[in-house]
């Protein structure tokens, strides 16, 4: 019984309960960046988890290599199915799982903007980018964001900063976040849409934007 409850909790929070962030060495961390949820289970995601890893360099998008000095990096994780069953959550499509209760397809990505020239979109899936220059953002200022889907503005996407939902994107995909702490910013955007109910019941899109704010 206890295991079942725990499984249900894990399933319901699977997509949004964790943080991802990119460090200065272009390693993607997975865990709980916010100290209030620190469980000691932070880890670095391996490249096998990634669908694509791209670098924005001199205004052009290329595959990321170690020697690149990227103005922005963008990691798209491989899509993962999560299907809830009476005996746990399985990472398989609904139609390949015994006794499925419900199922989702998680589509995640994460971007880090390193400089003012890294504001260009990668035009792939759900993506957050800045409309104002990161070097000019100070504590108390607003990060003026745009939510894009395949490079086009997307409205109605929930945006959260430091675990607090602060609003949804408007008709132009715009949403503003006030910066309240220095250091690496971790802003998330997410939305859901219905699946075909055969392979999965819903698709959950989530993306994270990182950039540094100095004092």
């Amino acid at each position: 019984m206890k295991k079942t409850i725990l499984t249900l909790i894990i399933f319901s929070t699977l997509v949004s309960a964790h943080d991802m962030w990119i460090d200065t060495n272009n390693s993607v961390h997975y865990g709980h960046k916010q100290s209030t949820h620190a469980h000691g289970d932070n880890r670095v995601l391996s490249q096998e988890k990634m669908l694509s890893i791209e670098c924005l360099e001199n205004g052009k998008t290329t595959t990321l290599y170690k020697e690149h000095k990227c103005s922005a990096t963008f990691f798209i994780l491989k899509p993962v199915y999560y299907t809830k069953t009476p005996y746990g959550v399985k990472e398989k499509p609904k139609n390949e799982t015994k006794m499925p209760i419900s199922s989702l397809l998680s589509l995640e990505s994460i971007k880090r903007i390193n400089s003012n020239s890294g504001l260009k979109s990668f035009n792939k899936g759900l993506e957050l980018t800045l409309r104002n220059k990161p070097s000019e953002i100070e504590i108390g200022d607003k990060a003026r964001l745009i939510v894009l889907f395949d490079g086009k503005p997307k409205s109605g996407v929930r945006v959260a900063n430091a675990e607090r939902t602060i609003g949804v994107s408007d008709e132009d995909g715009h949403v503003n976040v006030r910066i309240k702490q220095k250091g690496l910013q971790n802003i998330k955007a997410s939305f859901e849409k219905a699946g075909d109910t055969i392979v999965c019941d819903k698709l959950v899109y989530e993306t994270t934007l990182n950039f540094e704010v100095n004092e």
Binding site: R158, V159, N161, I166, G167, D170, V175, N176
Partner: protein, 325 residues
Amino acid sequence: MKKVSLFTLALTTAAFAHHGVASLSIAGLEGPGAPLETTSTATLPEGKMLSYAKIEDASYTKYTSAVDDEIDRTTYLMYGFGYGFTPYLSAYAFIPYYTKKREDDIGSSGFHDIKLMMALGFKYDDGLMLNPKTESLDDMEDWHFTTYVNVSLPTGEGEVTFPNQNIDFDPFLQLTFGAPSFMLGFSATKWYGDAVTLSFDTSYNTFLEHTYSNNIRVKFADEMRASGAFTYKLYTNQKSKFRLDADLEANYLKIGRDAVNGVAQDATGGEILYTTIGMRLFYNTISIGAGVKIPTWTNLNEDSDQQGAEGKEKYRAIFTFSTLF
């Protein structure tokens, strides 16, 4: 992620003695608080309607044992409807129902002049701009402003008589100002991102002269108001969509002298500073406010003769109800 419910609305309408004035306050489960009397700056969401009711009951301190023509008690009911034409432009109509009773038990009761109001909302975000359709909670921390105009139309009964009473026609017991009145107001709100909201407003209200059927010409005195409110969010539960705010306000009112047949009247006008203490509860799309408003400082023109006038209340009990649909 928590689900954000940004627009549960409350609206307050202040009605001071015989001079009814509408003021507006709107807040949500998240976001800035809404005072009871001071006008906040939130406008109605585009395409949304607001239904509103307010009761204000005032009892006046008696300074003399004489039973005369001074007001003893007033009860004002205000029904209101609002509509958000755009994110920055809201329109309201208010239908007041007034009951006034003098010390000698003579009084009047009925619908008073309809009031029409328009509110234009704007904010400062790297420059002044009209309220956008969508704002994040962080955007709501910007200074927000509203300028509003209010016009009352003489739709109430102006020939209230007292056939079985041995009194003259009393213009102050009529259910209309007899002529339009005009108000221009300005409000500002600053939300500090969590529990504290500060609101400020000021307005000026002027009345046109009206000649009643007995050839008495009356011009009600102009009024100037300035208020400040401190609202504190005591409790919020997003799951049950419940929020409870405490409200503390200072409401300054300066009234000129009423004029009858062009002559400024004694025992009218002056300055009053009220203190309002109240609570506001939000549940889903319903808001209920309750409070008491007490004159804490007065500088009336003929203080000892102004029993039954503004500034001489024992209290004003205020109750509001509003819902958005």
